[in-house]
């Protein structure tokens, strides 16, 4: 009988502990929403605003960046703080979430409601999700126009719109268009060697890959990027770019036509275009255009290309241009060239939420934090410091909009200062001409489509999204790389599995959100 007693004792003890934990936390939970309201409440007090905002109280801001702490953080941030102190009587301290663990720590910092004011945010860092869970401060028009007048003036309306989640704004996006279209980087010397036509269509590219596979021993024709999205780089070239589609999210097989005014969405895996792409892929796979172990290969495709192990890769313009420049600088024995295999197709631009800065929902210094962002994007001196470090040490300014790297450049780089991108940015003088020219021509043909600013709120279909993402990995990716022998059966399997994972429910939900979005426009 004493058995019961001791269990009881343990239970009581546990319960007491739980209760104390509970009470500790409920207080906190009750407290936390208050600071959220504070800035909103104080913002509309117009009289305090117009001529000069009260900055008499010195504040320390804390911002969370992703990426490693730069080696020369102390010297550069000391310089930034000197200027900030003069201008807005504030200083900034950075906390850095390394690439190795940011994905775990980033949501944790928000979930645990740690003490910080600003945080780097981006669509690929779960911006929508975190905003919907209440991690970020709702930025009202009053707040923006009052505390960041320059940004308010210079930011394109569409960028603000793209950053809204359920009609509310939680981020100050970067103020610079960025291209997301994918290109091919290939070996020009090999193309010349086998006298192949220019790589300007999917067919020409397939021809190049098959020729290399057949004739060039020891070189793998194409290597994909490890850890890519489920609709990977090559899919984006051959589906999205080729057919002028876009996808809501590259981890969901839901697409729409850029030109479709009605915003009709469809299941990518059910289209004839996808079926066509599968036979294109199967043909390539059967002709050894990529490694048989492509699904397990963890090599860095850029490294493989540089070493001559692979004959083509895909990535965005900036990365491939820089890789090409690096190879030329190092006198690589291989001649690399960029190819757009879907020329003349409509180009779309990255959504603004690619890089942005958010204010923590419980920040006590939201006003000063907004003023800080305003300066970082639009004050030339501070912008240069934040983006490139100290002139003459970490970079050398060339004219108004270019810079040259120095041997100290590596000591101040590699973290997410990209949210402060703006027209004040400088470009690397070493960037290849050909890439810049291509980029420019794209800029001129950028197509703005009706759904550009639509954001999907997946909270009602989380279960289905989780399962669809799993099905894509298990059935779609092996199918695309030709690891399934019978393509038709593989496709049927994929479609069946997607059906039971609930794709129809997601599509219905997305469509109703899109209809409401377009109706409100």
């Amino acid at each position: 009988m004493s058995k019961k007693k001791s269990i009881l004792l343990a239970l009581v003890l546990t319960f007491v502990m739980l209760l104390s934990a509970c009470s500790g936390n409920t207080n906190k939970a009750a407290e936390s929403p208050q600071p959220t309201k504070e800035p909103q409440a104080s913002a509309p007090e117009k009289d305090a605003v117009e001529p000069g905002i009260d900055t008499s109280k010195e504040v320390k801001l804390k911002m969370i960046f992703v990426g490693p702490k730069p080696v020369d953080y102390d010297t550069v941030f000391a310089e930034i703080n000197k200027k900030l102190k003069e201008k807005i009587n504030a200083t900034i301290e950075g906390e850095f979430l390394d690439w190795s663990d940011w994905a775990q720590k980033y949501p944790l910092k928000l979930a645990a409601n740690e003490d910080f004011d600003l945080i780097y945010s981006a669509n690929w860092a779960g911006y929508n999700d975190q905003a919907l869970k209440g991690g970020f401060l709702d930025l009202t028009e009053e707040l923006l126009s009052t505390y960041m007048p320059k940004t308010w003036e210079l930011m394109p309306e569409s960028s603000w719109d793209q950053s809204k989640v359920n009609g509310k704004l939680y981020m100050v996006p970067q103020n610079r268009g960025e291209s997301v279209e994918k290109l091919i980087l290939y070996r020009e010397d090999l193309r010349e060697k086998y006298n192949l036509p220019a790589l300007d269509s999917p067919e020409a590219y397939a021809n190049y890959l098959k020729t290399i596979a057949e004739k060039e021993q020891g070189v793998i024709p194409f290597t994909p990027e490890t850890g890519d999205w489920k609709l990977h780089n090559l899919d984006r070239v051959l589906l999205k770019q080729q057919f002028e589609w876009n996808m809501l999210d590259f981890d969901l097989p839901i697409g729409f036509k850029l030109t479709d005014e009605k915003g009709q969405i469809f299941n990518v895996y059910e289209t004839e275009e996808f079926k066509g792409l599968l036979s294109y892929y199967k043909d390539l796979a059967d002709n050894n255009s990529w490694s048989k172990n492509v699904l397990n290969n963890k090599n860095d495709h850029q490294q493989d290309f540089k070493e001559g192990k692979t004959a083509s890769i895909t990535h965005n313009m900036g990365t491939l241009g820089a890789l090409k420049a690096a190879m030329e600088r190092e006198n690589s024995p291989f001649k690399a060239a960029l190819a757009d295999i879907t020329p003349d197709k409509k180009k779309s631009q990255a959504v603004a939420t690619q890089n942005g800065t958010s204010i923590h929902a419980t920040s006590k210094n939201a006003e000063r934090a907004l003023m800080f962002i305003d300066l970082m994007q639009n004050d030339a001196e501070l912008h240069n410091l934040m983006m490139y470090g100290i002139d003459g040490v970490h970079y050398t300014a060339v004219g108004d909009n270019k810079y040259q790297s120095t041997d100290k450049s590596a000591n101040y780089t590699g973290f997410s200062n990209w949210s402060f991108n703006s027209d004040l940015n400088r470009d690397d003088v070493a960037f290849p001409e050909e890439a810049s020219a291509m980029e420019k021509s794209w800029q001129e043909t950028v197509y703005h489509y009706p759904l550009e600013t639509f954001v999907f709120d997946n909270s009602k279909v989380k279960t289905e999204v989780a399962n669809v993402s799993n099905v894509m990995l298990r059935y779609a990716i092996p199918l695309e790389y030709g690891a399934i022998k019978d393509v038709d059966k593989g496709l049927a399997d994929l479609q069946k599995q997607l059906g039971s994972a609930g794709i129809e429910k997601i599509i219905a939900e997305v469509q109703s959100q899109i209809d409401a979005f377009l109706a409100a426009k």
Partner: protein, 306 residues
Amino acid sequence: MNLHQFWNDLVRYRIILLMLAPGVIFFLLFAYVPMVGIILAFKHYDYAGGVFGSPWNGLANIRFFFESGDAWRVTRNTALYNIAFIIVNNLLQMFTAIFLFEVGGKWFRKITQTIMFLPYFISWVVVGAIAYNLLNTDIGTVNALLKGLGMEPVDIYNTPAYWPYILVFVSAWKMLGYGTVMYLAAITSIDTEMYEAAEIDGANIFQRMLRVTIPNLYPTIIILTLLAVGNIFRGDFGMFYNLIGNNGVLFSTTDVIDTFVFRSLITTNEIGMSAAAGVYQSILGFTTIMVVNYAVRKYDKDRALF
């Protein structure tokens, strides 16, 4: 059972209870208090509400798992892999320990034992990289060897049937040194008088091993097995993920609950949903261990865990 009796016991065990206090406080604070987090499995977590203020949503969080159609398959895989690991690893470690104890000079023993510990230090990331280099079709060592012998190369990374064997082998290889130490300690603790008695009875070395050493290791075997049984529904994520990665072709034989949940939730990143999956594993593990422990208790009261 009355209060008086309880008080007497408290006095009688006061020193023992005092000695237990640090451990009890430790687990209360670091294990039982955070256990309130289990309620997150039944909540829709939002940041303003936190652990206690977030709204309840019943069993919605675990729906993704059971509606996926894969729940049974991955649960079965997880349990089967763990059972295989328990049997193979324990047998191998036990016999290795016996041989190490009985055979060889001081240096041979030291060197082999240190070498056997090497795999334990290699992180799963590196194990994954080495496995890829040994097993891939293009430049893998195994296939190079096969080709050298004039045989057809084997497409290991596209053939699910090979993987249960590979995974059991890798697990045995990695844990060999670690587990051997445990059995060595147990063998070392056997009273040498027992060996002497066996010798007087004229037992040869094989008989001695079977009749003295192994029976004396039963408690260790039972304890290690019981400890492992509580976790047979948890897959070693590091191992499965680094060896298999995102290769969907192999999932039919290699998917365990942990990898499945990770893949499903990587895009939604829902705290409540991963908590729910964890609770599912806990309940299965809890039920299993209660049954097994009860069975052991029936057989021998002292061998049971509790």
